[in-house]
C-alpha cells in the first residue's frame, strides 16, 4: 500500500483534459477556440513552455495566451529557450506570467532589462541551451507546452520540417511527465511527410491562421563583409585552423566567421588545406557555406535549426546534411548543442566585450540579451575522453611541461575587431555585465564565455594564444597586445608584448607570412547573395529582404 498518492500529476492531467472537453471533443481545435481552451487548461502558477526558438516561433499560440483573462490565468512561470516576441513580454506586463527561466532574448533585450528592473519579470536564471533543456528533465519540467510545427495529420502526428529545433526536447519532457502539449501547425494534412513528434505525445492541434514566423538568423550578405574581416579570416585559417589541423568545428553567427567560410574555397584551398581542415561541422545551414560545400571542403553538417531559403539546396545535398525519408532536413537544437560541445575541437565566435582575463559578454547596461549557442560551444568539454590531434595539441600547450596526466582541451576562439561601430572598444577593463548584475539583482554577472575557456583571441592586430600564457600577467599583456588602439591596448607594456611575440604567444599577420595586399574582398568566394545563388546552382532561394534584384 502506498503511503502517499503517487499519481497526482496524472489525476491533474485528467482534470485539465476534462475541462477541455467542454470546448472540444477531439484533438483538433479551431483558431477561435484556443484562448478559451488555454484558460480552461492552464492553472495559476503553472510552468509553461511557449516554444520560442531562435528561429521558429509558436507565435499564434503566444498571441492567444497573451489574450487570456489574467484573473483566471496568472503568475505563470515561463521556461523557454528564447524570448523574442512582443507577446512574450506582454504576458508579463499583463500579469499573466511572473517568473522566467530562459537562454536568449535578442530583440527584446531592452524591454526585458526595464521590466526586470521594475520587478515585473522575475528571472530565475539565464541558462545555456543545454542547461535549460537539462532542467526540463529535473526541476523545470513544463506543465503545459505550446509548440510549433509545419503540419499535422488528424491523429496529431506532427511534421516539423527542417526547423525541428527545440520541439522534440520540449514535447518529450512535457508529454512523459503527464503535462499537456498543444501544437500550432501551418496546415492539417491527410498524411504528414514524416512523423517528427508522434501523435500520442500531443493533446491538441490547431491550424494557425498564418504560418509560424521563422527568422533567417544565420544569413549574412557577403556584400557587407569588410577587408578587415577578410584579413582576420586569413589569420584564423593560417594561424589556427592549419596550425592545429582543425577538422571538427562550430562557427558562431556573424560577418567575421562568414568571411572564414567564404575564404575556404579560395585562400584555404591555395594553402593546400582542402581535406585537412573544416570537414565536419555542428552548424546551421549558413548560406555562406555553399561555396565551401560545392568545392568539396565539407563532409558533414549537423544543424541546430534550418535557414530560410536553404531548404531545396539542403534536400539535394543529403551526403552533407541530416535529412529524413521525405528528403527534408531534420535539425535538433539539443542534440546539435551536445554535438558541438563534445564532438567538436573548435568554436569560434564574436562578442561585444572582452575583459583583461578574457571573459566575454554580450550584455550591456540596458540590455539583457542572454547567451545563444556560444556558451555551450565555447566551453571546454570537461566530460570529454576521446582524442584528436587538435584536442591533444591544445591540451599540451595549455599544460606546459609540468603535468603528469595527459589531457586535451578544446580550442575556443574569440574573433573581434578592436573597435565596434561608433568607435566602441571591444576590449574593456570591466565588463558591462557587472553593472547589469548590480542593476537587476542577479547573483553573478552574465558572462557568455569565461576567460579560462578561451584559447585564442583574434583581432585585426594579430592572434593572442592564451594557452601558452603561464600566469595572469602574461595573459593580460597578451590580450592588451592584440587590443589595438583601444585604451586597453594603448596601456600595454611594449616590452612585455614584444617578449610574448618572440615566444610566439602573439602573432602578427607578418609573423604568419600573410601578405596584407591580398586582404581584399576579391578573396571572397562570393561577394554577394546573388553569387551564393549561382554557387548553389539556383537551389538557394534567399528571403526577399536579401534580394536586390
Amino acid at each position: 500500500m502506498a503511503l502517499h498518492s503517487c499519481d497526482t500529476l496524472a489525476q491533474n492531467r485528467q482534470a485539465r483534459l476534462g475541462r477541455a472537453r467542454t470546448i472540444t471533443g477531439g484533438k483538433l481545435l479551431r483558431p477561435e477556440q484556443v484562448t478559451e481552451l488555454l484558460e480552461a487548461i492552464i492553472e495559476p502558477g503553472d510552468r509553461v513552455c511557449l516554444e520560442g526558438n531562435n528561429q521558429k516561433q509558436a507565435d499564434f499560440l503566444a498571441r492567444c495566451l497573451s489574450r487570456v483573462n489574467p484573473e483566471n490565468v496568472h503568475d505563470l512561470h515561463l521556461v523557454q529557450s528564447v524570448v523574442a516576441l512582443s507577446e512574450h513580454i506582454e504576458l508579463f506586463e499583463r500579469g499573466i506570467a511572473r517568473r522566467l527561466d530562459f537562454s536568449f532574448s535578442g530583440p527584446q533585450g531592452g524591454r526585458m532589462a526595464k521590466l526586470v528592473g521594475s520587478g515585473t519579470i522575475q528571472i530565475g536564471a539565464i541558462h545555456t541551451y543545454l542547461e535549460l533543456f537539462s532542467r526540463y528533465f529535473i526541476d523545470l519540467t513544463p506543465r503545459v507546452s505550446l509548440i510549433a510545427a509545419q503540419a499535422a495529420d488528424a491523429a496529431g502526428n506532427l511534421y516539423t520540417g527542417p526547423n525541428t529545433e527545440d520541439t522534440p526536447v520540449i514535447a518529450e519532457a512535457t508529454a512523459f511527465k503527464n503535462g499537456i502539449v498543444i501544437a500550432q501547425v501551418n496546415k492539417i494534412m491527410d498524411e504528414v511527410p514524416r512523423v517528427d513528434i508522434p501523435a500520442d505525445w500531443v493533446d491538441f492541434v490547431v491550424e494557425s491562421p498564418k504560418p509560424h514566423y521563422i527568422e533567417p538568423l544565420f544569413t549574412r550578405d557577403p556584400a557587407q563583409i569588410s577587408e578587415i574581416q577578410v584579413l582576420m579570416a586569413m589569420m584564423v585559417i593560417k594561424g589556427i585552423y592549419a596550425e592545429y589541423g582543425v577538422q571538427r568545428l562550430n562557427h558562431g553567427i556573424g560577418f567575421d566567421s562568414a568571411a572564414i567560410e567564404l575564404l575556404l574555397p579560395t585562400y584555404a584551398e591555395s594553402l593546400g588545406l582542402k581535406g585537412k581542415i573544416c570537414s565536419y561541422w555542428a552548424l546551421n545551414p549558413h548560406p555562406t557555406m555553399i561555396p565551401a560545400i560545392e568545392s568539396g571542403f565539407v563532409k558533414s553538417i549537423h544543424s541546430f535549426g534550418s535557414e530560410l531559403g536553404m531548404e531545396a539546396y539542403i534536400a539535394r545535398r543529403p551526403d552533407i546534411f541530416f535529412t529524413g525519408a521525405d528528403g527534408s532536413m531534420r535539425s535538433n537544437r539539443a542534440l546539435c548543442q551536445a554535438a558541438g560541445h563534445y564532438a567538436c575541437d573548435l568554436f569560434i565566435g564574436s562578442t561585444l566585450q572582452i575583459d583583461l582575463a578574457g571573459n566575454s559578454s554580450t550584455a550591456t547596461i540596458d540590455r539583457i540579451t542572454g547567451f545563444g549557442g556560444a556558451a555551450n560551444m565555447g566551453a571546454d568539454a570537461r566530460g570529454r575522453r576521446h582524442v584528436s590531434p587538435t584536442w591533444l595539441k591544445a591540451g599540451q600547450e595549455a599544460q606546459g611541461r609540468n603535468s603528469s596526466m595527459p589531457r586535451g582541451r578544446k580550442l575556443v576562439v574569440q574573433l573581434v575587431e578592436t573597435f565596434r561601430e561608433h568607435m566602441q572598444p571591444a576590449f574593456v577593463e570591466e565588463l558591462d555585465a557587472w553593472q547589469l548584475m548590480e542593476k537587476t539583482g542577479m547573483d553573478i554577472p552574465p558572462v557568455m564565455i569565461y576567460g579560462d575557456d578561451v584559447s585564442h583571441i583574434v583581432t585585426e592586430e594579430g592572434i593572442a594564444n592564451l594557452l601558452l600564457c603561464r600566469n595572469e600577467e602574461e595573459r593580460e599583456q597578451a590580450i592588451r597586445g592584440v587590443a589595438g588602439y583601444t585604451p586597453v591596448g594603448i596601456a600595454r607594456s611594449r616590452s612585455a608584448v614584444e617578449n610574448l611575440r618572440d615566444r610566439g604567444i602573439i602573432k602578427r599577420p607578418e609573423d604568419l607570412g600573410i601578405d596584407k595586399r591580398l586582404a581584399t574582398r576579391d578573396l571572397l568566394a562570393a561577394r554577394s547573395i546573388k553569387e551564393l545563388v549561382r554557387w548553389s546552382g539556383g537551389m538557394y532561394d534567399p528571403p526577399r529582404r536579401f534580394r536586390n534584384w
Binding site: I228, F419, M423, K516, R517
Partner: protein, 105 residues
C-alpha cells in the same frame, strides 16, 4: 573637418622615386591613401584630412606604429578619412606602402 600633420624620421638611405600609389575610397568608414615621393630631406610626412574631430592621439599612435613598420624616407602620404576605424587605417596604410615598394620592405 580636421587637418592633422605628422613627421617621422626616415630610415637613412633616400628612396628612388617611384610612381604615386592611391588606394581606398572616401566612403563612410573608409579612407583614401595617396603615397608619393617628395624631397623631404630624408623625413616622411603624413597629412590627414578627417571628417571626425578629436581623435588626434589615436592617429598619432596608429601612424607612429606604421612608421615603425615601413621606411618613410622622402615619402609624402596624404589621407582623406571618412571615419575609418584604426583597423581600416592601418590596413590601408600597409597596403599602400607595400604597393608603393612592391614587396620591397
Amino acid at each position: 573637418m580636421e587637418q592633422l600633420e605628422y613627421e617621422f624620421d626616415g630610415a637613412g638611405s633616400l628612396r628612388q622615386s617611384g610612381p604615386a600609389v592611391l588606394v581606398g575610397v572616401v566612403s563612410s568608414g573608409n579612407l583614401e591613401v595617396l603615397v608619393e615621393s617628395a624631397e623631404l630631406g630624408g623625413r616622411g610626412r603624413i597629412v590627414v584630412n578627417t571628417s571626425v574631430r578629436g581623435f588626434g592621439e589615436i592617429w598619432q599612435a596608429v601612424l607612429t606604429d606604421f612608421a615603425g613598420r615601413h621606411n618613410l624616407a622622402n615619402l609624402l602620404i596624404s589621407i582623406n578619412d571618412a571615419g575609418a576605424t584604426p583597423a581600416v587605417v592601418s590596413l590601408r596604410l600597409d597596403q599602400a606602402a607595400e604597393e608603393f615598394y612592391r614587396g620591397e620592405p
